[in-house]
Symmetry: C2
Subunit: 532 residues, 2 copies
């Protein structure tokens, strides 16, 4: 029997936080916020009543489509805090009418043909881990219905080219599924977003996913060698090339297209040998500012660490057990080719130049066990959020990127805005920060919010917090998203961020690729006016 995923919360049912764990966490949260919290039970499928499907699949596609309640409920939202809150409280007013599971590219073509001709919106759905409303079935407009197109049956690594270190992989392959197929070849895509277990290659490409590595080749953008995309107007296949100067890159139009321009059925991806050398160190700083300067020095040194994760004092305490108020910079290098002493030694020197100390020294050739333990904890974090939802509180993250010259002001403005909003809206709570990625010209800070709330108020209160954060980010020169994508939730700020005339040209491109405007309507741009 296959493993079951939670239809309302994060991940695998067998990995979910237990009622006992939830109660224990609730006690701790209640103590932290000095108020009582009410733990409610998760919803049950039996208690759900979904609106009946408005459309039926045509005969030839019926075997791919389901109107099963669990399927529809599980494909109604992504997995943002807001999504989990709504699902937890049984708010499923706009589920997809059908969930389609194509098993081949011709199935995808046929589904989009039907949707285009019948005026049915098609929501490309990979692992469903969107935290920005990217797979939400409530698309508005005058569509006859909505089909969630679940691509996880297209999950094969079709070809491995060991010489070029590249692999042709189907778009619906979840992280562990594709890594499992690459492992026998000694290779890895080495792309580990936090959603790794519950997101797909096609989803990573469509959302410009960032892996958990900190520098250089880590964004999915740089791993794409060629894409294959089914659009309602036909199939787009780019050429496998290590580099090209032939006009604007076709791949780069689909990287970040969020399902609005086509469905990525396949891609040639740059892969890597599995690393055999490792070196790591953690540097402690008396101030956040000193840590930021050290991270910048490392980012600009041309050393390309795999990890360069700056934790503010709060996160250093909760994530790294450093409770003396230090800011901590976690450094790590990995290589399949060479030992890394020269690299880590110089990175540690950069830290020392900015007052950093390395209490435990450099650990060369640190074991996979340590990295594995950290990764396991990293991947497990979103399960905890379900427990926070169950106790009526707020836990969510948001992220951005900005150039170094603006970073201090951005960080200050965001923290001030969110702390002020937390105080006035929730009467307390915290916002903490770490770096997920660093660049020679800037950093990507990742913020975590934890706040008291009550059942019934969570969604609206989070929305106010999110608006305060997003306004501060935009005003301070950041991007509305560094790797979570735009979806429906970031549209308002995205529309201000992107150049307006360029947006019109993207819309024109969409009209060619998706003339009926059925692909993920409302994401990135408004649906084109319906053809009548």
């Amino acid at each position: 029997m296959s493993r079951r995923r939670s239809w309302w919360g994060w991940g695998w049912l067998d990995q979910a936080v237990t009622p006992e764990q939830t109660r224990a966490l609730a006690t701790s949260v209640a103590a932290r916020f000095a108020r009582s919290v009410e733990v409610r039970s998760p919803p049950t499928l039996a208690g759900l009543t979904l609106p009946p499907p408005r459309v039926a699949a045509p005969r030839l596609l019926a075997h791919l489509c389901s109107d099963d309640t669990e399927e529809r409920a599980g494909h109604t939202y992504g997995k943002s805090f807001r999504d989990v809150v709504r699902a937890f409280h049984g708010q499923l007013d706009h589920p997809p009418d059908l969930v389609a599971r194509p098993t081949s590219e011709p199935d995808v073509v046929a589904l989009l043909e039907w949707c285009s001709s019948a005026g049915v919106a098609a929501i490309p759905y990979g692992g469903g881990s969107s935290v920005v409303g990217g797979v939400e079935a409530d698309v508005g407009g005058s569509y006859a219905g909505v089909v969630s197109v679940d691509l996880t049956a297209l999950d094969r690594v079709v070809e491995v080219d060991r010489v070029s270190r590249a692999a042709r992989i189907e778009g619906g392959a979840l992280g562990p599924v594709l890594e499992g197929q690459l492992r026998p070849h000694g290779c890895t895509l080495r792309h580990f977003p936090q959603s790794f277990e519950h997101s797909t290659l096609g989803g990573w490409i469509a959302t410009r996913s960032g892996g958990h590595y900190a520098t250089n080749y880590t964004h999915i953008d740089d791993f794409v060698e060629a894409v294959r995309v089914v659009t309602p107007a036909g199939i787009v296949q780019s050429r496998r090339l290590p580099g090209s100067g032939a006009g604007p890159s076709p791949d780069r139009m689909f990287v970040g297209s969020e399902g609005a321009l086509g469905i990525i059925t396949e891609a040639w991806m740059r892969i890597q040998d599995r690393p055999t050398w490792r070196a790591s160190a953690s540097a402690h700083f008396a101030t956040w500012s000193a840590g930021v300067q050290a991270a910048r020095a490392v980012a600009q040194a041309g050393l390309f660490p795999a990890n360069c994760r700056l934790l503010d004092a709060s996160e250093a305490s909760t994530s790294a057990g450093v409770v003396d108020g230090s800011t901590v910079l976690v450094l790590g290098f990995e290589s399949a080719d060479h030992p890394l002493e020269a690299w880590i030694d110089r990175a540690v020197e950069c830290c020392a130049d900015h007052g950093g100390t390395v209490p435990e020294g450099v650990r060369a050739a640190s074991t996979e066990g340590t990295a594995g333990a950290w990764r396991s904890s990293f991947l497990r974090a979103p399960y905890g959020r379900d427990a926070i939802v169950a106790m009526g509180c707020i836990a969510e993250t948001f992220e951005t990127a900005a150039t170094w010259d603006r970073f201090d002001e951005l960080h200050r403005a965001v923290v001030v805005a969110v702390e002020s909003a937390l105080s006035s809206i929730c009467g307390g709570g915290s916002v903490t920060c770490r770096f997920t990625h660093v660049y020679p010209d800037g950093a990507a800070p990742y913020f975590t919010v934890l706040a008291p709330s009550t059942h019934g108020s969570q969604e609206a209160q989070w929305q106010q917090l999110k608006e305060a954060a997003s306004e501060a980010i935009l005003t301070a020169g950041g991007t509305i998203t560094h790797h979570h994508a735009v979806g429906r939730d970031h549209r308002r700020w995205y529309d201000r961020q992107r150049p307006p005339i360029w947006a019109e040209s993207l819309q024109a491109a969409k009209r060619v690729l998706d003339p009926a405007g059925i692909l993920n309507p409302g994401v990135l741009m408004d649906p084109p006016p319906r053809q009548t």
Copy 2:
């Protein structure tokens, strides 16, 4: 008095090959091809009769526009072999009617407004070094006239952000002009295409230029932090960001747009500290194939050399003085941050693993003098081509990129096709190869052709050679261009290479940005049907 550029050949008049040097070279070429060559004199401006301008600038723009013969002749073509041959022989049937030199962004806006309303084609012109027909004034169609928009007066480094290592630079700044303004800040863009002295930032961005560094950050694509583009529909300004996940990248639509979507008036560019540490070595291999494998090993090792230039035996002889038939891999590392022993030592080990020997050993901290001498010879090469034109022979280059798995076959097919064409078309000549860039998943080979010909036959014979090369490249899975761009000369192959439906969507985007279709017509796509 300002330095004058050749209107028909490469570069500065005061750097041109002298008649004595040309005669000496002719003797050597004649001996090599065992046939006599006829050296002709370059054309004179006094001998030119250009067709009269078909349009006059409106009163408010008249001060920016010139119909001077030298200006028009000098802006008729780029600087491909074919261009130089045509200009050398006085074939200037379709010069631009006017050459405009805007001195501000509002000038650019006003020029495009006039061109759009008057049906005049506008050819964005940076340094004019295109070798693919990218700035050619013969655009066909039913335009009232053609204006070459020379942007070199927009040449300032406007702002330098030392903290983020970025600079805001105007699009018309030639290489030495922008480096001269960065130097006092201790910075460099470190982008040195062979056309460096005669090409501009805007041209590099528009053509997806490749610098002379071999790995990692070397393509202009990766240095662009934000762009500012004047389109007939308005100004597009993207946000300065070190990274972003907010939809498809607007910058990446303009990187490679070759003047067809707008004029890049400004960009925020990632810059670097000037390198202070260097290490280099040259490895010799008994066979080309062993050298290719070593280059691949270095490219896949994660070492990121600044130089990783593989020279075949012919090029090793002419460029590196290695006359024993060896293939040579020239390796170099540069850093502004740290000594490079560990890097170069490991790269040399990779070579040894594939049978490479390093006769002169590693030169750590090699002097700028050596690099400077090489760069000077590199930048000087195109001047010699003018002499080849004057003696009625053929000298030209072409380039591509392909994944490693296809590389051996591509190299073989291209050499066979071109040697066969040389034999049947020219009765002799040579094609040689080096790598300009290497990637983890492939390489960019650069081919040089030298062949006997006669005045009057050069252009047609080169065209046949070029077709043979381009067919072989496309068939073997390469790109029609890795960094020279598409222009008008590569259109036929580009149209086969790019996904057709994607091309339609790009055309739709152009219709939004350039509704009258006046921008660089015929480049990347056919001009849209004229509005009447």
